[in-house]
């Protein structure tokens, strides 16, 4: 609750900061400070410090899982700010508004990680989506940005329609929006419930960019300004997954036999399409868009597993995935040429950046000693421990092997090929931060309990 309110207030503050503050660095500083405060207050809430006592009438519950995830999401946002906030200046003139929108999105993220009513889920998802439509289109004179924005908007609203139909049907069956009152374990799930559940699943799959509802993802991620792609491909997607898991764990966990297979199909399709399509991409940015679909396939395995390993794993997965992808995007933003060829000879000119990029790529590919490996490991472990679906696991690892193909193309370009990779000036502080992020990725890959011991205290 602390974080929700503070981030909303921060959003408002940032809205006005554009008028009051002239220097962009001050705005950035304010945002960073505000976010830091939010994080601290959120952590304090974990330790029982509640700034606000509000009766939420059972519509939200800030349990350890959600608070913990919120911390991760905000910490990743913090990293994102540190690495890329400066780049947002280049997008357009409304510098402070971008921060405001991001803070609003953070509120939405907090909502969708702590809802216990479908209404809050709906609101949370919408609060995430609407600012995103705008951020996507924020580079107003760039036709690609425009196009992406409109596509995202049209398809997003369409999926909102699906979601609402789903919620309605569920409501028709159970007469309540509270997620723990939706299913009745004693009776067989009614047709309305199943239909609603599926429609809800499809719309969540859409938000999580799972195949076959992923079509918006490459276009939007490609068209959006790269800084915002970085944000929405990581933190936002992570939040959607947390919402997804929360919903299916709490609301539909008891009737998992009805939907598990469908999820398995979606997971399989996502893994397949995401990985296979990424292979042929020529632009690293677009490749990362497909890779985010592919990673979503892995994260869906936590939804499929609905067990504690899966929930634990999704936290690690989102952390690993967010850190790596944000780091990679932060480097990508600095590049003049987003194609693979643009990276040729990068290692020679920027050995440090190339080195950390390798770590991020290895993490995304799931190579041991990086957080990405343990994340994938958790997912596989979760599915295997939930019983069945070995075929899916095997498909997943085969696809992971394919993912190596396109991630390593970047490594090959950087290290093994000759070329003149063009890079914008990078500051020393940027190098420090990104090295720390890379170190964190490795640290989490070797000692993931650093994350979990905190989770379990």
């Amino acid at each position: 609750m602390n974080a929700l309110i503070i981030s909303a207030i921060m959003g408002v503050l940032m809205m006005f900061s554009g008028i009051l503050l002239k220097r962009k660095s001050t705005i950035r500083g304010l945002a960073l400070a505000g976010l830091l405060v939010t994080i601290i207050l959120n952590v304090m809430e974990i330790y029982g410090v509640h700034l606000f006592r509000i009766n939420v009438t059972g519509m939200m519950s800030f349990d350890r899982f959600s608070l913990f995830f919120n911390t991760i999401a905000m910490a990743c946002t913090f990293v994102f700010f540190l690495l890329s906030a400066k780049e947002m200046e280049k997008v357009g003139v409304n510098y402070s508004d971008y921060f405001a929108l991001i803070f609003f999105i953070l509120s939405g993220i907090i909502l969708s990680s702590s809802f216990s009513s479908l209404l809050i889920l709906f609101l949370g998802i919408e609060i995430i989506s609407i600012p995103l439509y705008i951020l996507t289109g924020s580079d107003k004179r760039n036709l690609k940005s425009n196009e992406a924005s409109l596509k995202y908007f049209l398809l997003g609203s369409f999926s909102t329609g699906l979601m609402l139909m789903g919620i309605t049907l569920i409501y028709g069956n159970s007469g309540s929006f509270a997620i723990d009152a939706i299913t009745n374990p004693e009776t067989k799930p009614g047709v309305l419930l199943v239909a609603g559940l599926l429609l809800l699943m499809f719309s969540m799959a859409f938000k999580a960019s799972a195949a076959p509802f992923h079509f918006w993802t490459p276009d939007v991620y490609d068209g959006a300004p790269t800084v915002f792609t970085s944000f929405m491909a990581t933190i936002v997607k992570a939040a959607v997954f947390i919402a997804f898991i929360r919903l299916f764990y709490h609301a539909f966990g008891e009737i998992h036999n009805t939907w598990k297979f469908i999820i398995a199909i979606i997971t399989a399709l996502t893994l397949f399409i995401g990985n296979i399509t990424a292979v042929f991409q020529q632009s690293v940015k677009r490749m990362l868009a497909y890779s985010s679909i592919a990673q979503a396939g892995f994260m869906l395995m936590a939804v499929l597993a609905i067990n504690s390993i899966g929930s634990e794993g999704i936290l690690l997965y989102t952390t690993a995935y967010c850190l790596s992808t944000i780091g990679l995007f932060a480097i990508l933003v600095k590049m003049k040429d987003y194609t693979f060829e643009g990276f040729n000879g990068f290692a020679k000119h920027q050995p440090l950046l190339a080195g950390v990029a390798v770590i991020f790529l290895l993490s995304l590919a799931g190579i041991p000693l990086t957080a990405g490996f343990l994340a994938k490991f958790y997912m596989i472990n979760a599915v295997i421990n939930s019983g069945g679906f070995l075929w899916l696991v095997i498909l997943a690892v085969l696809m992971a092997a394919i993912s190596v193909y396109y991630y390593f193309r970047v490594i090959q370009a950087m290290y093994f090929k000759e070329g003149e990779a063009q890079v914008i000036e990078v500051s020393t502080s940027f190098k420090w931060v990104i090295s720390l992020v890379a170190a964190l990725v490795i640290l989490l890959g070797v000692f993931p309990q650093l994350l979990f011991s905190w989770f379990y205290f």
Partner: protein, 166 residues
């Protein structure tokens, strides 16, 4: 057959017919008009279900504000009906067939719902009255209500960001 069913059927036919007209009209302006008629028909349904508050809000917000906005934008763009080139016929057909099949599947599935024969009370029940809804809204739903303000704020910021000339 009482008045209620008759009204129900009239309103339903009206809504469906207007909805079909929305998607088939060549002229976007006509589509808007037809859509407004759909909203009126739906408001009629709300009244029939004794949800007066929503009926009014629907008229004001949807048929009023939103549709006017649409009209305004359309007029701003001055879209003639010729300007909308028709989609590939096969794609259209595919779209229609897909939507139709979805309808069939959903109805075939939901037909078996165990609540199918329950009654949605019409013309009675006072939960749809402003007073009652207001009580619930400001007692139980005050948090979401406040949260929706975040939504509005962000939409506002967004509209400004997008709309403002640089």
């Amino acid at each position: 057959m009482g008045v209620t069913p008759i009204l129900f059927w009239i309103l339903s036919v009206m809504a469906l017919f207007s909805a079909l007209m929305v998607i088939t009209s060549k002229n976007p302006m006509h589509s808007v008009i037809w859509l407004i008629i759909v909203f009126f028909a739906i408001s009629g349904h709300y009244l029939l279900l004794n949800a007066q508050f929503l009926a009014i809000v629907n008229i004001i917000v949807y048929a009023g504000a939103i549709m006017v906005l649409f009209l305004y934008v359309l007029m701003l763009m001055d879209l003639k009906k010729e300007t909308e080139p028709q989609k590939n016929r096969w794609l259209k057909l595919a779209g229609a067939v897909a939507g139709g099949s979805l309808l069939l599947v959903l109805i075939a599935a939901l037909k078996k719902a165990d609540i199918a024969n329950q009654i949605a009370e019409t013309r009675t029940g006072d939960i749809g009255l402003i007073e009652n809804l207001g009580k619930v809204l400001f007692n139980d739903y005050v948090v979401p209500f406040e949260i929706s303000s975040i939504l509005f704020l962000s939409a506002m910021v967004g509209a400004v960001v997008i709309g403002k000339k640089e």
